[in-house]
């Protein structure tokens, strides 16, 4: 009898073994001193507590796992993507353990720590114009793929369905398990994978949950990881039907919240995590009661320049 069991390659086995290091992040319950209303709970998922130190472990893992299983990514091809840093670090952390090569297109003005980490993880970095942000990096990545047929697996986090599916299959279910009383899910948007994937699943399971997305107020914001969709190239995976509402958060509000969270909670967050908290408290101000859940994409480890400036205030 012919066995129907699929032969699992050694690369697939290595990737599967890493699943325990991705997701299942703990939660932080913010204090009423920060929220200012005893009838409202605010819960943040501490997404830096996984492989590579950010929320991006989820999307990167799903993208790589799917590409390996479908044969698009092998030990002979190179994983290529455009990234401002966190996705790149997540790719690199997974790839290093699995023995996959990684090339990343990165705007030249990405933070020093990110460049150092990527270099130490063995990534081949292609620097792109600081004037054009990650939209420019995407353009360079597309040209590399076009000019070198067969050399790369272009992960394309902005278009890759496994980006939002990672959150659909993990983040949303973890939230429902950890915070079953959730009434609102709120998060900022960059590739939009976290908000779209998590929101879509939460709505399917409990349509009463309100889904509120955050945006920077300007094209020139300081919220690394966020995208001002009005002036940027809109990611293909973005689904405008998911958000019940979109609220603006300014960089100044994020920096003020970063300091406040440190003073009250003792947590040193990244600017985008602090922006999610700032946005969540704007939502809280409109409610009499409820349970708001957000994600805290990463902590302050990679933002020494910002942290120094903010804590000095």
């Amino acid at each position: 009898m012919i066995s129907a069991t699929k032969q699992v390659s050694s690369l697939e086995s290595k990737i599967l073994a890493l699943s325990e290091k991705v997701g299942n992040t703990p939660i932080h319950n913010f204090s009423s001193a920060l929220i200012g209303n005893n009838n409202i709970k605010l819960v943040g998922k501490m997404e830096w507590m996984q492989l590579g130190g950010s929320v991006k472990a989820r999307a990167a893992y799903f993208i790589i796992k799917n590409a390996v299983e479908s044969g698009q990514l092998t030990e002979q091809t190179i994983l290529l993507d455009a990234t401002s840093g966190n996705t790149g670090i997540a790719y690199a952390a997974i790839a290093k353990e699995a023995g996959i090569r990684v090339s990343l297109c990165l705007p030249e003005n990405a933070s020093i720590e990110r460049k150092q980490i990527l270099t130490e993880l063995g990534v081949d970095i292609v620097y792109t114009s600081p004037l054009e942000g990650t939209d420019g990096s995407q353009q360079v990545a597309r040209e590399l793929v076009k000019d070198n047929p067969g050399k790369y697996f272009y992960a394309d986090q902005y278009k890759n369905e496994n980006n939002w599916k990672a959150h659909y299959n993990t983040t949303a279910l973890e939230i429902l398990n950890q915070v079953p009383t959730i009434t609102h899910f709120v998060a900022g948007m960059g590739t939009t994978g976290t908000f779209v994937g998590t929101g879509r699943r939460l709505r399917e399971i409990n349509p009463a949950i309100r889904l509120i997305a955050f945006q920077p107020d300007s094209a020139l914001h300081g919220l690394e990881g966020w995208k001002h969709l009005e002036t940027a190239v809109v990611p293909k995976i973005y689904d405008p039907a998911v958000a019940d509402e979109i609220i603006e958060v300014t960089t100044e509000e994020s920096y003020d919240m970063l300091k406040k969270v440190y003073d009250i909670e003792g947590l040193l967050l990244s600017p985008s995590s602090a922006a999610n908290v700032a946005g969540a408290l704007k939502v809280a101000a409109t409610l009499t009661e409820g349970t708001i859940v957000t994600v805290l994409p990463d902590n302050s480890d990679k933002y020494s320049e910002v942290i120094k400036k903010v804590l000095k205030k």
Binding site: A219, H228, P297
Partner: protein, 91 residues
């Protein structure tokens, strides 16, 4: 005339122009001239007190104006001023 380079995300507000000529003087007067000519740029570059927003990166040549004389940094005829966006594209 000095040159000011507009980053891609802001070109929507400068009729898609990437390079503009400005009279020079200081960074403060140059940005004022820029936002007078293109008023939609104002909220992106300046705070409610008319100061350059703290996270907006402005370079004169290769140097950040924070390491020079900040808003009082001189802009000469051959100076190239760049407005550099923060990195975006994560979550």
């Amino acid at each position: 005339m000095a040159t000011i380079i507009i980053p891609t995300p802001l070109r929507k507000f400068t009729n898609n122009t990437a390079k503009l000529q400005i009279a020079g003087g200081t960074i403060e007067s140059s940005i004022k001239e820029l936002t007078t000519n293109f008023p939609d740029l104002k909220r992106h570059l300046l705070d409610e007190n008319g100061r350059i927003r703290s996270f907006v990166n402005i370079f004169v040549g290769d140097e950040d104006i924070r390491d020079l004389q900040q808003e009082q940094t001189l802009v000469k005829d051959d100076t190239v001023v760049s407005i550099i966006p923060a990195i975006a594209g994560g979550l």
